[in-house]
């Protein structure tokens, strides 16, 4: 029985706690959160302890892995503490808003010889991973072009926007990871632009809420990402990859398969509301993957190096938006 500790008892922590509880061979021993009441309630639900100090958790030799679902600003410190304590690590994206600090984390992890997986859950979405499998199996030939649509149902509070690191580091980092994963290649050229169209307060906070990004890879593969902080019709999460012999498109998921027809038209459900619903199964599968790979010693589908690489692209996109010019990578 693998004993694990969960840091963070918020929305994403709750998801990880439920998935950990359902995993055979895994025991959720500790839940830690500065907001003690949240930790206590979640711990009670899943038979974990909420009263241990973080230091005590790191010193408990029975704990072999930690799950980090805390605010971004605390990620790097927790990763480094865990690495120092010899614990394996699952950490939500991003590693850190500073790519330099993220790189330091990667080095600490490497030095400590622990395993570190980053929570790019989209790679575990059943539709996305089936598309990737078919692409790798050559079902549409050689990949040439990727179009990613990534739209939140509604913008977060302005306070969150202010500390988010900007739309590229907060939101598109997932899309940059999908770009690297699906095309299996690295960017040599990136161009981004954007505007504040959804809410002028986002603009006043120094960010944009609507962006388009183009990338070209070493082998000339092309990618377009379009993203918005708002889609009135729900969470819009699609991509399509064009290959020399066809196309693979991942469409949105819908809560039910009901089709209503009436005098106004033919009506289907809106897409799943937001990430908790849309990626429910992906969150379950990524945690399962984490423990499976720990078991066998195989590498993660999304290691810390992937976390760092996606952040570099987010940084580049921010620079391109600011300068109005393309960024060329070495």
């Amino acid at each position: 029985m693998k004993q694990v500790a969960l840091f963070g008892a918020g929305r994403i922590g709750g998801i990880h706690a439920a998935n950990l509880a359902g995993l055979p061979g895994v025991q959720l021993k500790y839940i830690s959160d500065p907001f003690a009441e949240a930790a206590r309630r979640l711990a009670e639900k899943y038979g974990a302890r909420a009263d241990a100090h973080p230091d005590a958790i790191f010193q408990d030799p029975a704990v072999s892995a930690i799950i980090i679902g805390t605010p971004t600003t605390t990620h790097s410190a927790l990763i480094q503490q865990a690495a120092a304590a010899g614990k394996h690590i699952f950490c939500e994206k991003p590693v850190d808003l500073s790519t330099a600090r993220a790189q330091e984390c990667a080095e600490a992890v490497a030095k400590a010889g622990v395993a570190c997986m980053i929570g790019f859950q989209r790679r575990f979405d059943p539709s996305f991973s089936e598309a990737k499998r078919r692409l790798d199996d050559g079902e549409i030939g050689t990949p040439e072009m990727l179009v990613i649509t990534s739209r939140d149902c509604a913008p977060p509070p302005i306070d969150y926007i202010r500390s988010s690191g900007g739309i590229f580091r907060d939101m598109l980092i997932h899309d940059f990871d999908v770009f690297r994963w699906i095309l299996g290649d690295e960017a040599v050229w990136l161009s981004a632009t954007g505007a504040s169209l959804v809410d002028p307060a986002i603009g006043r906070a120094g960010d944009v809420d609507s962006v388009v990004v183009s990338l070209r890879t070493r082998s000339g593969r092309l990618c377009q990402i379009n993203a918005s902080r708002r889609a009135a019709y729900g969470y819009d999460q699609r991509f399509e990859v064009l290959g020399s012999a066809g196309l693979l498109a991942c469409e949105n998921l819908r809560p039910t398969a009901v089709c209503q027809m009436d005098a106004r038209g033919v009506h289907l459900d809106k897409p799943e509301h937001f990430f908790l619903q849309r990626y429910r199964e992906a969150y379950r599968l990524e945690i399962e993957h984490f423990f499976q790979q720990l078991e066998t010693g195989a590498s993660f589908r999304t290691g810390i190096a992937d976390g760092v690489a996606a952040q570099r692209l987010a940084d580049a996109a921010a620079r391109s938006l600011a300068s109005g010019q393309a960024v060329v990578f070495d």
Copy 2:
């Protein structure tokens, strides 16, 4: 904490065990199956006991409800024993292949004052129940016509066919229940025909494998059911209800949302393979419903009377097929 016993450790028993394990406030205390090894393995997985004799289970005052997932021939005896012991009952369809015996069960349950729910899980399918909700909310006006498509992915073994009670009692009983539920009315006229087209061995076993049934209700609403023991493209489970102001159609579910386009065409996934996949969520929701209604004392969405009523329609369909003529109900 409600303590419950599960009878039957086969395929459907395994589903119920997993769902019971995930229900807060419910403890799966016993699993009973004449095939002791199956019971033992399932009990181990979910921390239940597999070594208690059925009599001991019925005598355990801590057990307030039993879940019956055994072969059909044992249902009525278990229902009557449970009723006599004052236990609430969840029983898989059908109550009994003999409608007379099913009626006796209904009377025993009523006399004992216990609650008895029949496992017509389709009423708990999220798409089907959403369609029913909209129908009841008047979104398509008054219902006029229902078309049910019900096709298994492949026929069961001939041995199963022989003891199944025939396609109407074994397979269409679900569709007859959907008919009563969706149209909210009782049949006054039924006509059925069929043929053995899938496998001549089914014909030699005295059954048919492809059937069409028409029904008319007291208020003149119409229903068509078409069913086959085989659909080469997977489990086909749809219905559509025409109302005075529109149509509600429940389409098949697909494992992924991947759409592949290539030189041969545009390709989507086949429907979910069979009932274990297609109705996974429905099985979870029906057990949740069972305990919720027990808690509040409210009636079940699918009581034993519904079980008996569906069987009467199955009997009538069998008579109509045999005689080649319609059956008129009083």
Copy 3:
């Protein structure tokens, strides 16, 4: 240049006139309608003569074929006159409301040695005929079951209902033809029921507006037809045929491919409004087929025998509805 005469300058006559005008090698010489003004206007548009008496038209040796798009009651007389005059015939369905008279027409045509095609335009619908082609090519194995959905957008005026011959002869005759065409077999058993749900005035006129029909063929193939005089969401014209190796489904057509998503859901266009829109291309193709087959002497996809056969099924359905019992064919 083939010279032809068109009888009937109403809605369907207008369609045929336009399609004849677009056919190379065909000259629309006469248009005849007791309502002279309609004939005159249509003739002017397409450069035809509207002033010739029917007798003169039949006596004009330059006219080799006539197109009949007049009210049903006049069909049989026109067919017999045309046959006597040695003209080839294209006639709208039905041949006649009396199957006996329809049979007499078939005999007159045979005796005169002229060609006679009946306007079952659905066999020329590009989707329906592509489905038939694939079925014949064995793409889904052997056909086993056919489900036809046939719903008008709105009922015709009560006066029309009264003289229509009833819903089976007026509306389902097309579906009976599709049944014979798609399954490639003849009925041995038919059962029908129905109700007046759309408009009580239809019931008072002695007809029903909502019907379900089941059929079984010589080789045991099954068919279900459901039909209504009203679908609030537009003209609903679908069928699906289940085969031993798969399914072929013809879905509705939509005016545009626009998909709108908003806070209320995902919205597609309603199906094409009614038969003039839905079967626009089918009407064009059937007339083209008529002249192509005349040219080569090959038989029509829908000969007068098909017209008579469909009417026999309509008669049987009317008897079944009236008696409440199935009709068995020799």
Copy 4:
């Protein structure tokens, strides 16, 4: 009766000839093509003259309008000749590969006071124009982002590529026009990149075959265009526009509505094969529009200024691709 002359008897000339023949009130008097045999054959089919010299056509006072469907290099000369002769002009895109010469044409047309429409037929596609209508009616609020997918089924011959002016001027000019039309705004920023992935010969000819373009408008609206010279699954012509209150997406059209399901999956038709099929109705409607607007004196949906504006964007995209940097408009 308006008399018109058609220049060009090739593929697109054939389409225009057929559509002109079907237009009431329009007479196709002349067809002119240096390849006399093509002109003769087309003229014979539609009752036009093919033997007149271009000068004679321009001097014929009965001719009020000319339709130009000749190779691009001849457009500007024909436009200027027609303008000088006082004829109204319908000209296929592009006006000229040189934007300067295109601008001269616009000035000649303005000076002559003749009407000049450019054949951006996509604005007449029923789905695209319905989307535009709903956008203008505010059905999805204010437009924010446009994503255009534009992929040919297969690349043209290398010889054509060489004289095409490059992928932006030849192919994306349509998409640049859609961008201006749908977003109703002008570009202030454009960034393009591309690669030769489909065929290295295209690269050797100095062009690319796969491109992505981003645009930002004066009011901050964003647009992404992705285009390829090859889509193995057919002609892929879609766009979607995100607004503050929803999304309007134009999906591909399919030849039939047949859905086949079998052991391999669920299969739909590929999109319409290429532009002749996909835009058949659009070509008909644009010519109808041309004569309607001439009749009423109202302005065209796609005037020569639109032709020039789209070419400026194509020029800018070519510069951006070459330099690797964004182009900023005044």
